[in-house]
């Protein structure tokens, strides 16, 4: 087990290095002015430009720039925007709201998605199965910003079931945005659970369990589900990337004061330092979450960690 975790950690290093290198390259070394779009609609002032060039060592060779940038990232320094505010600080005061939103979305995804998938899987080919397949297909086809806009109109304005926008970020106000955020992933989780369950139900050990005379509840609930839910766990980790992209959209629509809204406002104010700093932070969080899920996968499925 220890060896597996160590190997995972080592494999992560080139990916993190590569991803940050790629982002840094895209950000600073593509042809064009590196300062374009970093100071709103006006060109940057010479003082800020000089400070920016010094901060990112833009006069040095690329490799030196990158290594120094990496050093800053390790210290949690995501840059300073042209208002003179530290991006890391801006994120630090906003992340609790976004975490709450993500927890609502993931809970929704895990509970509703898995339940729907199980129902569809054990009644393969029946009405409920078709219902789940068609409804998930529809949810997969609707981009999050459409789900957001329409449900804000329908449930917020017309029916009045939920607050229309979020003010202080209480649980009640975050509920609808959280459900909207999870709507795409819940569909994928349901489909994955269904496919995985259907495949496992055909396995020999399930036939043995049935032949022993175990009840359906036990065969499905204990024997099959344990194995079927493994890919779903991995998917929930991978869905984190979709959730973070979706959070930018959802927080914008419902005016939730979290990291996503900060990114959206920075985009519309053309504050490039904040956009890139915040997104880099999200990418690193995503990589770490997936590392944890990978390790968890090794714990849940001993076959993975013993090869």
């Amino acid at each position: 087990m220890g060896k597996y975790i160590l190997r995972r950690l080592l494999m992560m290093i080139p990916v993190i290095l590569g991803a940050t290198l790629l982002i840094y390259f895209l950000n600073f070394s593509l042809p064009g002015d590196p300062l374009a779009g970093r100071c709103g609609d006006r060109p940057c002032s010479p003082a800020y430009e000089a400070a920016f060039r010094a901060e990112y060592n833009l006069d040095q060779p690329f490799i030196v720039q990158y290594v120094r940038y990496l050093g800053k990232l390790l210290h949690g320094d995501l840059g300073t925007n042209f208002y003179g505010k530290s991006v890391a600080h801006e994120l630090a005061i906003r992340y609790p709201t976004t975490v709450k939103l993500a927890v609502i979305a993931i809970t929704f995804e895990a509970v509703v998605g898995v339940l729907a998938g199980i129902l569809a899987g054990i009644r393969k080919g029946k009405f409920i199965d078709n219902l789940v397949i068609v409804s998930t297909l529809i949810f997969i086809s609707i981009p999050v910003f459409v789900v957001g806009g329409v449900s804000q109109y329908l449930f917020g304005l017309k029916l009045g079931w939920f607050p229309v926008t979020s003010g202080d970020g209480s649980l009640e106000q975050l509920l609808l945005p959280g459900l909207v955020l999870g709507s795409l992933s819940v569909a994928y989780a349901a489909r994955l659970t269904r496919t995985s369950l259907v495949e496992n139900l055909r396995a020999d050990y399930v036939r043995t369990a049935k032949a022993k005379g175990l009840s359906t509840a036990r065969t499905v609930g204990i024997h099959t589900l344990r194995n079927s839910l493994l890919p779903v766990v991995t998917y929930i980790g991978a869905s984190f990337g979709v959730l973070m992209g979706g959070a930018i959209v959802t927080e914008r629509i419902f005016n939730v004061n979290g990291i996503g809204n900060f990114i959206w406002r920075s985009i519309s104010q053309r504050d490039g330092v904040s956009v890139v700093g915040a997104v880099v932070c999200l990418v690193i969080v995503y990589l770490v979450v997936n590392l944890i899920v990978d390790i968890l996968y090794g714990v849940l499925d001993p076959r993975i960690s013993h090869d």
Partner: protein
């Protein structure tokens, strides 16, 4: 062989085991024997009996025609707008109503198809070609080539599509007067650079499965060049999953483009696109007063995405014998 759909290249069927060395006995026997069936021939038989396939195909063709010839659907100019009509609800004169600027929403929705279809099709094509070539190279040659390409793909794969898209779109600045195609290509570039590893992985594993087959070994033993082995034996038998996933992804890329435009960094006004229209319409005041501004472009966007995903899934179900 049964007829194959025109959009999909007909693969060379794997040779019948008996046909290697032993010729078919006589022509007469062959005539009475059941028809030789290929993977795509079987799939076509299954697909054409499913109504979902025809619905998806019809919707898809409708949107493609709409993107190519918007004039067929509306005689109105989407750019001729009168503020006096601002936010008018649907009526007989304008069946989808008017937006904030007093533009006809029906005309703008029809003309908006072009951006979405163009970005979706181009991105899916670029990722399919690029991913397939690299995937085939990695799987066919193995060793350090495979190692190198796979590790590079891991890096690109690790960056979520939307987050990476935001950074790339931000890094290539667009002036307000940039030509239409430049902005479209920029979005295609951003989505392709993050989308190719998925196709690469798929193609790599698909070629790895095809490579050990006898007919491939035979072709190599007979001294065929690698190009010929790959071109006439490996590719036709390993392209199926890539075609399916690319069709499904095409829908996803259309959604991603609309999301980027919605956030204000994809296509920019004055370009007409569904993402921009939905973005303008989802300001809270407009949702309250003029929900039709949001509903119509959103419905078209969802139907387009749905048609591609549905088509891809029907083809996948037909190709996958396990699901039968």
């Amino acid at each position: 062989m049964t007829e194959t759909p025109t959009t999909i290249p007909a693969p060379v069927p794997p040779p019948h085991p008996e046909s290697v060395g032993v010729p078919y006995p006589t022509l007469r026997v062959k005539d009475t024997a059941p028809k030789a069936r290929s993977l795509w021939g079987d799939a076509w038989d299954i697909m054409r009996s499913r109504p979902l396939f025809w619905i998806a195909l019809a919707l898809m063709l409708l949107f493609v025609v709409m993107a190519a010839f918007p004039q067929l659907f509306t005689s109105k100019d989407p750019r001729s707008c009168f503020l006096i009509n601002s936010r008018q609800p649907p009526s007989w004169g304008a069946i989808f109503g008017y937006d904030f600027q007093g533009c006809d929403i029906y005309a703008r929705t029809i003309y908006g198809a072009r951006a979405s279809i163009l970005v979706g099709t181009l991105t899916a094509t670029v990722t399919a070609i690029f991913g397939s070539i690299l995937g085939t190279l990695a799987a066919y040659f193995g060793g350090w080539v495979d190692m190198l390409i796979s590790r590079i793909a891991d890096v690109f794969f690790a960056i979520p599509l939307l987050l990476g898209g935001i950074i790339i779109m931000y890094s290539i600045p667009t002036a307000p007067d940039s030509p239409y195609l430049f902005v479209v290509f920029k979005v295609v570039f951003a989505l392709s650079i993050l989308g190719w590893p998925a196709i690469f992985r798929l193609m790599r594993s698909s070629v790895l499965q095809t490579k050990p087959n006898d007919y491939v070994q035979a072709a190599r033993a007979l001294g065929s060049s690698p190009l010929h082995v790959v071109g006439s034996h490996i590719l036709p038998n390993s392209m199926a999953p890539v075609i399916v996933v690319s069709t499904i992804d095409l829908g996803g890329y259309i959604a991603a483009e609309a999301t980027l435009s919605f956030l204000g960094i994809g296509l920019q006004a004055p370009t007409i696109s569904w993402g921009i229209a939905i973005s303008h319409a989802s300001a809270l005041g407009y949702i309250r007063q003029a929900p039709h501004m949001l509903m119509f472009p959103a419905a078209f966007l969802c139907l387009t995405v749905l048609s591609f995903i549905m088509l891809g899934e029907v083809v996948r179900d037909a190709l996958d014998p396990k699901l039968r």
